[in-house]
């Protein structure tokens, strides 16, 4: 059973803080949420910092990019009952992973002479270091993702993880297919829905920000993409943008 006032924490690693901002962006629901949760550690949201208090729930945003972040995450895992990875950065490495020659060269490029004082490795998903109990996808997650999540928790269950593609939502909304009719590089067929086909509804091809569905048919997608203006390598990069850059 989940206790009445959930003790939650929010921790931020390499990312843009957009995920936790989306939580604060539930302005109309914050009062109700505050009845159910007590934020005991979250540097952007509260000045309470309890180094020892155990969490019922820890929301993790961002990817892990250094040994000290890895240690911090592992320590936090020991303090929390449940750990939730929030957003593409935490789930796959997200945007942080776009390909650079190597992390060191990139670091030298930006920081020059002091680069060697920065200890860092290629951005990793949270699940590479600790057990993850639930995931909230998106870059950033939708408002409704957070509400579904806390709604389900307050009933003592995890929310169901969606796996139907954006394409399905496009069909339901009877939107024009950007891929087939306009030959635009839409990733809707392989991307997890839940955003009500936000981008295609504006005539903009899906960039895959909610991550890949489990049975993504990339071959079929590549076939459909043949008519778009994207070269093979650009298509590869587009697919990799939110899937963590593993082989495409």
């Amino acid at each position: 059973m989940i206790p009445k006032l959930l003790k939650i924490g929010v921790v931020h690693f390499a990312g843009c803080s957009g995920c936790q901002l989306m939580l604060l962006n539930c302005e109309a629901e914050l009062a109700i949420l505050a009845q159910r949760v007590d934020c005991v550690d979250a540097s952007m949201i509260t000045s309470a910092t309890c180094e020892e208090t155990p969490f019922d729930l820890l929301l993790v945003e961002g990817s892990i990019t250094s040994p000290s972040e890895q240690q911090h995450l592992q320590k936090l895992r020991l303090r929390c009952r449940h750990l939730v990875a929030v957003g593409a950065c935490a789930l796959t490495g997200g945007i942080n992973r776009f390909d650079a020659p190597t992390r060191e060269t990139a670091c030298t490029h930006v920081y020059g002479p002091v680069a060697d004082q920065i200890e860092t490795f290629s951005p990793q998903p949270v699940a590479n270091f600790v057990a993850v109990d639930a995931c909230i996808p998106g870059c950033p997650p939708e408002h409704s993702d957070f509400l579904d999540f806390f709604g389900a928790l307050s009933c003592g269950v995890w929310p169901t993880q969606r796996d139907a593609p954006v394409c399905m939502e496009c069909r339901t909304r009877e939107l024009r297919c950007l891929l087939e009719e306009d030959h635009l590089p839409c990733l809707g067929p392989i991307t997890i829905g839940g955003c009500a086909a936000r981008c295609p509804a504006l005539g903009i091809p899906c960039e895959g920000c909610r991550g890949e569905v489990s049975e993504a048919n990339r071959d079929e997608l590549c076939h459909l993409m043949a008519k778009t203006h994207l070269s093979k390598s650009e298509l590869k990069r587009r697919i990799q943008r939110f899937t963590g850059g593993e082989n495409v």
Binding site: L24, A48, T49, H109
Partner: protein
């Protein structure tokens, strides 16, 4: 010599710490470290196609994603020689205004307000439905409504694309919005007044630093082709690097601008001072209290942003909705593009060099918090030099940093070192 470390800095975006050094009970040095993990955007953009840049760079920061995306779009459209259609320009500006309203309201009502009432978090105020917090959250939600409607999403706006916008909101959406805007314009002054009446700040000395902002010479604007400094000089935006002369510092993952006229102060307070200077009007300083005047300046900017949004919504309703709102680029071009915007926290510059295949060969992004780093440390030193109470020193130092509304995720994306 005794040393105090304030870590983590709370109710600010991102990871930072302050190191205070005292000698015989006197504060002798303050060091501010922005120790977010480096995300190396400038390096990782090299070799990427111009088409990917706007979607990638808006992920630098979730709070100011709209202005990052717009700065990138403007810089790239310069290279591509595209003049966007009028409706697109209005929709973009409305998105930008929504971003300012949401960001200022987030700062004032979620990050600052808890200090006035001695609670750790806005959640503690929301739990009791504190009227001022609830009113502030409503304004914040309205800023987000503008970003959602015009930008297509609150964080990482999808409707803003190279050449213009994806879609212009329909009349059925604009008419009720206009009414809501009018109502909020009426309501806002009372909310701002109540915020001011509840404000409790420690005493503070005059804000340090030379104010710096972009904007138009005739009034207040969120973008421009010149940079203005409080000592009366005007620089073309292209000279930003010379003006700021950033250099990396080993303790911090952000760089310190070290230009001769500096250190610079950017943000709402700097904008207010410079607008007054450029337009020859006197700023209202009657309620200024040290760097906390930045909060007052943000309150005034929300007021300005709401009325500006109202007039833009009216203009948009009058435009021909059947005209295209996007000019598709006719292929890649080589060149340099540079854009200066006022992000909620101050001056933001994006600069890209593209080769003739449209790939990035160089990228520079200068963010407001990186610029403000030095004045933050100086202000702490100034305000707390004589303070003896250890608890108060720590609390006030944190409040000073908070007053700048730092955005640390932004600050760690740096100028390329030459």
């Amino acid at each position: 010599m005794s040393r105090q470390i304030i870590q983590p800095l709370t109710r600010v975006e991102g990871h930072g710490r302050v190191i205070l050094e005292q000698q015989q009970g006197r504060l002798v040095s303050v060091q501010l470290d922005l120790n977010e993990s480096p995300r190396l955007f400038e390096a990782l953009l090299v070799g990427r196609s111009w088409q990917e840049v706007p979607e990638l760079v808006c992920r630098i920061c979730g709070i100011c994603s709209s202005v990052h995306k717009l700065a990138a779009l403007h810089a790239l459209e310069q290279v591509l020689k595209i003049n966007i259609p009028p409706a697109a320009a209005i929709v973009r500006e409305l998105t930008l205004l929504g971003g300012h309203i949401q960001s200022h309201a987030l700062h004032l009502f979620c990050l600052i307000l808890p200090d006035f009432f001695g609670v750790p978090s806005v959640l503690d105020l929301a739990r009791d439905r504190h009227p001022l917090a609830m009113a502030g959250l409503e304004v914040k939600a309205f800023g987000n409504r503008l970003q959602e409607l015009f930008g297509g999403r609150i964080v990482h706006p999808v409707n803003l694309v190279i050449g213009g916008i994806g879609q212009c909101p329909a009349e059925e959406q604009l008419i009720p919005l206009k009414e809501e805007l009018a109502a909020l314009c009426e309501k806002w002054p009372a909310i701002a007044e109540e915020f001011q009446a509840s404000a409790k700040y420690p005493a503070g000395g005059a804000p340090v630093g030379c104010s710096l902002a972009t904007g138009s010479p005739i009034g207040f604007d969120l973008t421009g082709t010149s940079l203005w400094t409080a000592d009366g000089s005007e620089w073309p935006v292209a000279d930003y690097a010379r003006l700021l002369a950033e250099r990396p510092v080993s303790s911090s993952h952000a760089k310190w601008p070290t230009g001769e006229q500096g250190p610079f102060l950017v943000g709402a307070l700097a904008r207010q001072a410079l607008t007054a200077r450029r337009t020859g009007t006197a700023p209202d300083t009657s309620r200024q209290n040290g760097i906390y005047a930045n909060n007052t300046a943000q309150l005034l900017e929300i007021d300005w942003a709401l009325s500006r949004a109202y007039s833009l919504a009216c203009q948009l309703l009058d435009l021909d909705k059947t005209a295209p709102c996007r000019i598709p680029p006719d292929g890649p071009r080589a060149g340099v593009g540079i854009a200066a915007f006022e992000a909620p926290r101050g001056l933001l510059v994006h600069r890209y060099i593209l080769d003739d295949t449209g790939h990035v060969t160089e990228a520079d992004i200068v963010t407001p918090t990186a610029i403000n780093q030095q004045v933050m440390a100086k202000q702490i030193c100034l305000d707390l030099a004589e303070e003896k109470d250890q608890v108060r020193i720590v609390k006030t130092a944190e409040q000073i940093v908070r007053a700048y509304d730092p955005c640390i995720s932004c600050a760690v994306h740096l100028l390329e070192v030459k």
